[in-house]
């Protein structure tokens, strides 16, 4: 069964793998140290250009040259690569956990010499799979390795999604006909075509799935021509790819509504808008550079007299978040970019004020009005009160 491609990949993976093996073998024959190179996927190799809109890889590579210390890693890379290539050949898909067990099974049932390769925990096989992706500069989905679906439940009265299935059939999903059920984007490539039955005014991505559900229950999508989505914390690849699709195919402004704290700003909003350092090679398809930060804004705290928490520096998690925020201001090219000054100003404000304010605090403004939060959101959109 042919799988749907996430992008037009110029690279033929099996061919590239063969080419790689050929090069390494030749080196060995000449008593030269063979090596593998992968893009360095970390913040110090991330570049940001506001015109591009997402984090892109720099020139740094991680080079693993054969020596007594790296021979294990190289053998493991080739071992897993063989499994992945077989999957591609027969069209089988797996999660990372499943691949971990497949490795263990192959070792157990295979030649006794494989025993030395055995993986003690999933982290060990995961890091090799990631390395292979970075090495070939392909997405894990292109290696038929998929993650669990998480986040991105979407509600709309106007949106119609047409999915082309692997067998060529087309499925039409009119979100207005789903009742109280949301549309769930997959954490894997889907061939989706989006259409608006009526002009859609905006797309709202809510950090908390629960709050998105509340807004929906109270009639948010009935009253507004919009797309309403719950992100469920740090956006998964599915959510990021889905937002990117909405941005590309529908010309609607997109707003993010989440907590006012360093974690949300750095880990959730930045990842949604510009991708992450760990996924440098895939940010182009997995980020929504036009998304705006609607709130909670520092100015909202005063304006709506919102309930806040003091950030306790004695709490290790909160202290770490503050430290990370300070680091981000110094090292994260996204926050260092002048274009994002208003966002980095939020981080500075958080570091200075040492408070945090949750998205649900809007419900404290008028507890007797069940749609007060919706009213505030709409007012902010109308007034352009976002970053």
């Amino acid at each position: 069964m042919a799988l749907i491609k996430i992008r037009e990949l110029r690279l033929d993976i099996p061919k590239e793998a063969k080419h790689l093996a050929e090069r390494m073998l030749k080196d060995l024959e000449n008593s030269k140290r063979p090596y593998l190179e992968a893009v360095k996927t970390s913040l110090d190799n991330a570049e940001y250009n506001s015109k591009v809109g997402y984090l892109t890889p720099g020139d740094k590579v991680v080079r693993t040259e054969l020596n007594v210390s790296s021979v294990q890693k190289l053998a493991r890379v080739l071992f897993i690569l063989e499994i992945l290539l077989r999957n591609l050949e027969i069209g089988a898909v797996n999660t990372k956990r499943e691949l971990y067990y497949m490795c263990k099974g192959t070792i157990k049932k295979g030649d006794s010499k494989y025993k030395a390769l055995d993986f003690e925990s999933q982290d060990e096989s995961d890091s090799i799979i990631d390395f292979i992706g970075d090495m070939l500069e392909v997405y894990r989905e292109e290696l038929n390795c998929y993650a669990n679906d998480r986040g991105g439940q979407t509600y709309s009265q106007q949106l119609v999604v047409t999915e082309t299935l692997p067998d060529g059939d087309k499925a039409n999903v009119d979100l207005s006909t789903l009742g109280t059920s949301p549309f769930q984007p997959k954490n894997r490539p889907q061939s989706l075509k989006l259409k608006a039955k009526k002009k859609i005014d905006f797309c709202l991505v809510v950090e908390s799935e629960g709050t998105a559900g509340t807004l929906q229950s109270m009639g948010f999508t009935k009253r507004n021509n919009c797309i309403l989505m719950g992100a469920q914390g740090v956006p998964s690849n599915g959510v990021r790819g889905w937002c990117k699709l909405i941005e590309d195919q529908l010309d609607v402004p997109m707003y993010f509504f989440g907590d006012l704290d360093a974690y949300t700003m750095q880990n959730i909003f930045r990842t949604l808008k510009a991708g992450s350092a760990a996924s440098l090679i895939r940010n182009s398809d997995f980020s929504a550079p036009n998304v705006r930060f609607l709130g909670v804004l520092p100015t909202d705290v005063k304006k709506y007299d919102l309930e806040c928490y003091k950030v306790k520096e004695s709490d290790p998690a909160e202290a770490r978040a503050l430290k990370k925020a300070k680091d981000a201001l110094e090292n994260d090219p996204f926050f260092k970019d002048k274009k994002n000054k208003n966002l980095s100003d939020v981080l500075r404000w958080l570091i200075k004020e040492k408070i945090r304010c949750e998205q649900q605090s809007y419900f404290s403004v008028d507890p007797r009005d069940p749609i007060k939060t919706e009213k505030i959101i709409l007012e902010k959109i109308r007034k352009g009160d976002y970053l």
């Binding site: 060995l28 140290r33 020596n67 021979v71 053998a75 080739l78 071992f79 063989e82 010499k113 030395a116």
Partner: protein, 569 residues
């Protein structure tokens, strides 16, 4: 107003035995043993006798108090013996000591311990201590029971009789019967005490029977009785005003200048002039100290404190020495390797102090996952309780042992099958309590102990690093054997290559990895030669005759270890 009564010293201690080490049945047994052994060793040393101790701690019945056993504790020595007229004082009177405030590095200091043991026996079993004593001058030995008269703080000698005591020419045997409980191992264990005593007293031979175990013995590894340094006079900067005034009362009508010069160390004629410059009224210099008012004392005291004086002499401290420690450590078990460090005597808080450290890894005790066994000593006496507040523990926890190759959770004792023995010797050790369980942690003292530990740690790390390199080499060699063939096999498969290419690739791989393992071998050799150099140096220090023999033995040991490991594989 209620009537104010006065109680005797014995009454006070009888009511507060927990302050002097009798706070639980377990501690009562250990403290009694400790006090009896301390007294024996101090007496032997003062008479330059090599001590032979027979120790017996056994359960003989049920105790009178709840949850206790009746324990018999016997310590017999070959010391000088105690004269008949001194028996009551030694065993039955508090604060009767030949050592109190003398400025000597003796184990006992105040004269409380053994009388407290007598009191405990008397309180729990209605009988004091049974003593046999013989000095060389006595024709027959004397056997008697000594009790404490708590009301008057005096000893009472009962059932006195002269006996023939084997063929012994001199010595003392004490026997206590008291409520208590026996614990052998662990921090507060009797065996831990015996081992600690053996470690820091290489000249002691002991035969001991503890609980249900049979008789065991540990031979002496040194035939030199430690030379006890002359007592030293206290340094004036260690005094408080009250102590200063009390100290003066010992000098009666002596003039102030003479009192200062003879009552303290480091005060010379020139110092008196310095005191005057610092504000001591000149008129007082020749005045008898007994006639000085408190106000005048204060002026003198302030001037003395304000004047810079030479630090006290460090000649009054004694050390076990690296050589003896090295030998003694083998008495604890099968030593894998060890490192000892004797610091030069120094001054901490104006008191002479010397710190000695022995770190040893054992083959037959401890494990990698548990904290090291810590043995603390003050004036060669093991300290077995309340380690968390002790200067020694603080110092160990402040060292970064990871850099010497040991595992260590943050701010804790390091891990591994090691014994860390740290000894602090000083004529004026400051304890946190009268039961002498914890050394007060002053900054200067902690720093001094820390330095000793770090020096010993560096020596130790040479052993560990050499081992790590050895393991590293083994790991690297194993890696080549294990992963090389898989690498080639998979490359051939992915590239679709033939057998000829496979063979060529295998040869290439061997060449590359062979170069790497050669490098690892040379790193190992370098680490081993550094270690051998250290061993040579240590052997020289310990005065062993042929250094090369030692180095050769080390090499042999390293080789045989390697072959052992290979055989295991």
């Amino acid at each position: 107003m209620s009537k104010i009564t006065k109680s005797s010293t014995a009454e006070y201690f009888a009511k507060n035995l927990q302050q002097v080490g009798f706070s639980s049945p377990l501690k009562a047994v250990l403290t009694t043993l400790k006090e009896a052994v301390d007294n024996s060793l101090d007496a032997c040393e003062q008479h330059e006798i090599l001590p032979d101790l027979d120790i017996e701690v056994i359960k003989v019945g049920t105790g009178s108090t709840k949850n206790t056993d009746l324990i018999k504790i016997v310590v017999e020595d070959n010391g000088p013996g105690i004269e008949v007229e001194d028996l009551a004082k030694v065993f039955g009177e508090y604060l009767a000591s030949s050592k109190f405030g003398k400025g000597q590095c003796s184990r006992g200091q105040q004269g409380i311990g053994i009388s407290a043991a007598t009191t405990w026996a008397q309180m729990t079993n209605a009988r004091g201590v049974q003593v046999i004593s013989k000095t060389k001058n006595m024709k027959k030995a004397i056997s008697a029971q000594v009790d404490v008269d708590i009301k008057t703080n005096t000893g009472i000698v009962k059932n006195k009789e002269m006996i023939d005591w084997k063929n012994k020419t001199n010595g003392v045997r004490v026997e206590f019967l008291m409520d208590g409980r026996i614990q052998l191992n662990g921090d507060g264990g009797l065996l831990t005490y015996i081992e600690g005593t053996a470690l820091l007293n290489p000249h002691v031979a002991m035969r001991y029977k503890l609980a249900d175990d049979g008789w065991k013995k540990t031979d002496r590894v040194s035939t030199v009785s430690p030379e006890i340094p002359e007592a030293t006079l206290p340094h004036p900067h260690t005094f408080k005003l009250g102590e200063f005034i009390t100290h003066s009362t010992l000098y009666g009508k002596t003039s102030l200048s003479k009192f200062l010069k003879t009552g303290f160390s480091r005060i010379a004629d020139s110092s008196i002039n310095d005191f005057i410059k610092a504000g001591m009224p000149k008129s007082l210099v020749e005045k008898p100290v007994s006639s000085l008012s408190d106000e005048e004392f204060k002026k003198v005291f302030q001037a003395v404190q304000a004047t810079e004086l030479m630090a006290p002499s460090t000649r009054s401290v004694l050390t076990v020495g690296e050589e003896s420690l090295s030998k003694s450590i083998n008495r604890l078990g099968k030593v894998d390797f060890f490192s000892v460090m004797t610091r030069k005597p120094t001054i901490c808080d104006f008191k002479p102090v010397v710190v000695e450290v022995a770190l040893a890894r054992f083959i037959d005790r401890g494990d990698e996952q548990s904290p090291v066994q810590l043995l603390r000593f003050a004036n060669r006496v093991p300290l077995q309780f309340d380690k968390s507040g002790c200067a020694i523990t603080w110092a160990i926890e402040s060292v970064n042992w990871k850099s010497y190759g040991l595992g260590q959770p943050k701010d804790s004792l390091p891990f591994g099958p090691y014994v860390f023995a740290v000894s602090v010797v000083s004529p004026f050790i400051k304890f946190k309590n009268a039961s002498k369980e914890t050394i007060d942690a002053s900054e200067e003292l902690v720093e001094e102990i820390r330095r000793a530990l770090m020096q010993a740690g560096q020596k130790l790390s040479r052993h560990i690093k050499s081992e790590m390199k050895e393991a590293d080499l083994e790991r690297k060699l194993a890696h080549i054997e294990q992963f090389g063939p898989i690498l080639v096999e998979k490359l051939v498969l992915l590239a679709g290559a033939n057998d000829a290419r496979k063979k060529k690739a295998e040869e290439g791989l061997r060449k590359i990895l062979g170069r790497d393992s050669e490098e690892a071998v040379s790193q190992l050799e370098e680490a081993q030669s550094k270690l051998a150099a250290q061993n040579k140096k240590e052997a020289k220090k310990a005065g062993l005759p042929d250094e090369d023999v030692v180095a050769e033995e080390n090499e042999k040991a390293a080789k045989s270890k390697k072959t052992d490991k290979k055989k295991k594989k």
